[in-house]
């Protein structure tokens, strides 16, 4: 890469080398030649050279999972190809559910819609339930973390309630709301709230005494303390709770939708099972997995931005 540059500077470079050995000139000239080489190197670096490390790092992260997926598909194809196989092989899934894979957003009537739409409906429920859980969870967590008596009174209750499986709440919420939509949202809420509460409380209990002293010297009131010290200081913990919460929400929504019916990815799976469309189920599972992964990364990403300063103490 340096070769063309050196050729261009031949007139300056060559004499310097020839004089090397004769005296005072020697000291100055090689130094000048060295400086000349450095500058073009920085600016004239070809794009290919810059992209090479990037491409390499992409390759290193993307290739291994691709190979794994390929191997799984291959193994699956072989294992499920026999005549007595109860599950369809990947090739058969592609044949039967091609439209679901290639066209996530088609719309052919109220019950015949693409998986993308169904996912969006489920995501909407999760968004409402999870947002409620986030707000209420942070407030309750702040209360439990800040007040010893609130902790003594509430913590044991929380510890018991959080072990109740999400679906166990469903009959009760159906009875209370008499409608499937708010019931599903309630199940999301009650599933996601516990990790948010518990992590927020831990985060707030861990606020360094120094920050509390600063707040005291400045005479910050409760509201100022909450927004200016408490939330930013506990943010890493809060986001850990939110991340666990969003994962649990996504686990719960599919199960809840199976039971409540209507539109949504969960009901789609149940419906497909009832009409023995196994290929559709498998495609839906992949959709759910990918969306769950994206949700998790999304919350982690937001957390990383928001807590940029707090972590770097």
């Amino acid at each position: 890469m340096n070769a063309p540059i050196d050729h261009g500077r031949d007139g300056m470079g060559q004499p310097a080398l020839k004089d090397a050995g004769t005296g005072t000139k020697v000291v100055a000239l090689p130094a000048a030649a060295a400086a000349v080489v450095v500058l073009p190197q920085a600016t004239g670096k070809p794009l290919r050279e810059k992209l090479a490390p990037l491409a390499k790092s992409v390759l290193v992260t993307v290739l291994p999972p691709l190979v794994t997926v390929g191997l799984i598909l291959l193994f699956w194809q072989i294992a499920a190809s026999g005549p007595q196989s109860s599950l369809p092989p990947p090739s058969k899934i592609w044949e039967e559910a091609k439209d679901l894979i290639t066209e996530p957003f088609y719309w052919a009537g109220s019950q015949d819609i693409g998986l993308g739409w169904r996912i969006l409906v489920s995501l909407q429920r999760v968004a409402i339930g999870f947002s409620l859980a986030a707000v209420v969870g942070v407030l309750l967590g702040a209360l439990v973390g800040q007040s010893v008596w609130a902790m003594r009174g509430l913590d044991p209750v929380f510890q018991v309630l959080r072990t109740v499986p999400p679906l166990a709440w469903l009959p009760l919420s159906l009875a209370a709301f008499r409608d499937s939509q708010p019931s599903a949202i309630f199940v999301i809420f009650i599933t996601a709230i516990w990790p948010v509460i518990i992590n927020t409380a831990v985060g707030i209990r861990n606020i360094p005494q120094d920050y509390r002293n600063v707040a005291q010297v400045l005479r910050l009131n409760q509201v100022e303390f909450f927004f200016k010290i408490m939330v930013p200081s506990a943010a890493p913990y809060i986001f850990t709770g939110l991340r666990i919460g969003v994962g649990l929400s996504w686990l719960a929504i599919v199960a809840a939708e199976m039971l409540t019916g209507g539109v949504g990815i969960g009901f789609f799976i149940w419906d497909a099972w009832n009409s023995s469309r196994l290929s559709d189920i498998i495609v839906a599972l992949v959709y759910i997995g990918v969306v769950g992964f994206v949700l998790d990364r999304l919350v982690a990403f937001i957390g990383a931005i928001v807590t940029r300063g707090t972590a770097a103490q």
Partner: protein, 265 residues
């Protein structure tokens, strides 16, 4: 100057932990004049930080009282700003915002937005940190953090600035720089300052008076030394100054002859 600006009046502090109680401070009385620079020195564990926290209002007294301009102090407040030992800057705020938090709270109703901005920058410039206004505490050195901590304290325009071992965590060269800065600020603004330290040279260099505490438990004020050195003081000139040497010797003798630290530290 006869009127007591700050009066620490027969202060006692006993910490209660279950059945066990520890008497940390016993009958501590001290009068500090306006504009005075007072250092409190003593071995670790002698309760000097407790005393400072009591003046700050962060720790309640068990008996006695602290009076500032004749009014009793029993809660923390910005008129007794504290520069904490470990700077205590909020890591999620920039240098500017850390000072702004204090300025907006203290002067929110009094100064306009532009005035507050000028005041923040003025204080950052005072500690030579104006150039780093947008940096976060994690991105600047320990000495710079402490400078910002001092700027935050000064920006509250306190009646008394309390410094809790402000340079304890810094290397010797940085510490000397900051000591010079503090001397300059004290000369310019004429603040009343109380500083906790365990560095004898620092105490003699900066203080008008040095309060020497006996070892705890039940620590008292053992001796108060007047440092009769002209200001401005120059580090290099003082090395051979007779008053300086005598003062240094007096403090050292107090700490290492009469009140040696008995426990293994």
């Amino acid at each position: 100057m006869t009127s007591a600006y700050l009066k620490i009046d027969h202060v006692e502090k006993t910490f209660q932990r279950g059945a066990a109680s520890t008497n940390v401070l016993k009958d501590v009385s001290l009068v500090i004049d306006k504009g005075e620079y007072v250092s409190i020195i003593g071995h670790s564990g002698c309760g000097k930080s407790t005393l400072l926290n009591i003046v700050a209002g962060l720790t309640p007294v068990s008996a006695g009282a602290v009076l500032l301009e004749g009014k009793e102090v029993n809660a923390p407040g910005p008129e007794r700003a504290v520069v904490f030992q470990n700077h205590s800057l909020l890591p999620w705020l920039s240098v500017y915002d850390n000072v702004a938090l204090a300025v907006n709270k203290v002067f929110g109703g009094v100064k306009s937005k532009a005035e507050r901005h000028d005041w923040i920058m003025h204080n950052l410039d005072l500690v030579q940190m104006g150039h780093a206004r947008d940096k976060r505490p994690g991105e600047i050195s320990g000495g710079m953090k402490q400078r910002v901590g001092i700027a935050r304290g000064l920006a509250m325009e306190p009646k008394i600035l309390l410094l809790d071992e402000p340079f304890g965590a810094l290397d010797a060269l940085t510490r000397a720089h900051l000591q010079d800065s503090i001397m300059q600020i004290h000369a310019t603004l004429g603040n009343t300052m109380i500083m906790i330290t365990h560095d004898v040279d620092e105490a003699v260099l900066l203080s008008d008076r040095i309060v020497m505490m006996t070892n705890g438990p039940s620590a008292r004020i053992g001796e108060v030394l007047d440092v009769r050195l002209e200001r401005p003081r120059k580090r290099l000139d003082l090395v051979s100054d007779r008053t300086y040497i005598a003062a240094r010797e007096a403090v050292l003798k107090f700490l290492y002859e009469r009140h040696r630290f008995v426990e293994a530290a």
